[in-house]
Symmetry: C2
Subunit: 186 residues, 2 copies
C-alpha cells in the first residue's frame, strides 16, 4: 500500500490557476452544482484535501472564480478615447454581461458574493470615476454604480436578450444623466 508522493509521472502539485481553470470548466460544463471540491480535485489529479491548501473553503474558490471573470471584463474593455461616460459604462456593462453569459454557471456565485476581490474593487473604482465625470459625485456616484451593477446582474439572472438589455440599460443611463445637471435635453 505504499503511496507514491505524487502520482508517478503524472501532474506535479496543482497551481491555484489550475484549480480555478478546473472549477470554471466544471461550472461551464455542468452548472453551479458541478464545481464540487471533489470534482475539482479529481480534475487536477489531486486529493480532495489538497484544495484546502489553496482555499480555506468552497465558497472561496467561487469568489476567486468570480474575481477572475471581473478581471477579464476590466482588461477586455478599453474605451475609445473620445467616447462619453455613457458609452464607456455601457461598454463595461456589455462586457460583464458577455462574460456572465459565457459562464452562466458562475452567475449564482456573482449574485451571492459581496464582490470584494481585487478585480471587483478596481472595476468599481473605474466606474465610480466615470460616474463622477457625469456629475455624480460622492454618494450619488456610489448609488449610480449600484444602479448599473444591479441592472446588469438582474438582467443576466432574468435572461434578458441583448436588445432588451440595451433598451433598459440606456434608459437607466438616461435616468442617471438627467439627475444632477439642470437638464440639457439634446
Amino acid at each position: 500500500m505504499a503511496v507514491p508522493p505524487r502520482n508517478p509521472g503524472s501532474r506535479p502539485a496543482p497551481t491555484e490557476t489550475e484549480i480555478l481553470d478546473a472549477a470554471l470548466a466544471l461550472l461551464d460544463a455542468g452548472g453551479p452544482e458541478a464545481a464540487t471540491i471533489r470534482r475539482i480535485a479529481a480534475a487536477v489529479g489531486a486529493a480532495p484535501g489538497t484544495v484546502y491548501t489553496y482555499f480555506p473553503e468552497q465558497a472561496a474558490v467561487g469568489r476567486a472564480v468570480v474575481d477572475r471573470l471581473l478581471g477579464e471584463v476590466g482588461r477586455a474593455t478599453t474605451g475609445p478615447a473620445g467616447s462619453t461616460w455613457q458609452d464607456r459604462v455601457e461598454a463595461l456593462a456589455l462586457g460583464l454581461r458577455a462574460r456572465l453569459i459565457d459562464h452562466p454557471g458562475a452567475v449564482p456565485l456573482v449574485l451571492n458574493g459581496p464582490l470584494t476581490g481585487p478585480n471587483a474593487l478596481a472595476l468599481r473604482e473605474r466606474v465610480r470615476r466615470l460616474m463622477s465625470r457625469a456629475g455624480l459625485t460622492g454618494e450619488d456616484a456610489d448609488r449610480g454604480l449600484y444602479l448599473v451593477s444591479v441592472y446588469v446582474l438582474g438582467a443576466v439572472a432574468l435572461d434578458l436578450e441583448l436588445e432588451e438589455f440595451c433598451w433598459g440599460l440606456r434608459r437607466v443611463l438616461a435616468g442617471l444623466a438627467a439627475w444632477k445637471p439642470a437638464g440639457d435635453p439634446n
Copy 2:
C-alpha cells in the same frame, strides 16, 4: 420493531402548507442551505421520503416558497385609487423588496427560478397593465416589466438600503416614463 402507522398521538400526515411553512422557517433561521429535505421532513414530523408525495424534487419546494412570497406581495399591495402608475409600480416594488428582506434566505431561490408560478404570473400581468397605462404597450410593456423586476432583484441581491433603493427606482421609472410620450416634464 413494530412501526406505528404514524407517530402515535403526534401529528397526522403533513399538509403542503405545513411543509412550506417549515421550509420558510428553516430558510429564515439558517439561510438558503438550511432548508434541506431532511430537515423539512423532521420539522413536520415525517420521514424524508414523505416530502416527495407533495413535491417531485427539492427545487419544486423552493419554487413553491417563492410563489407564496409573490402572492403575499400581490395581496398586501392595494394601490390607492387615485394614484399614478409610477406610484403603484413603486408600491409593488417596495412590497417585493420588503418580503425579500424579511426572508433573505429565499432570495437565491427567486434569482434562480424562472418565476412561473401562478402568483408570479398574476403579478406580472398586473404590472404589465400598469405599464400599458403609462404608454408602454406590447413588447415595450414587457421590457419595462423586466427592467423593474431586474432592478428589484438586483437591488436586494446587492443589499441596497431603502434610500438607495428608492433613488434608483425613481430613476428607472423616470426613464420609463420619458420613453414613449412626447415628454411632459412637470
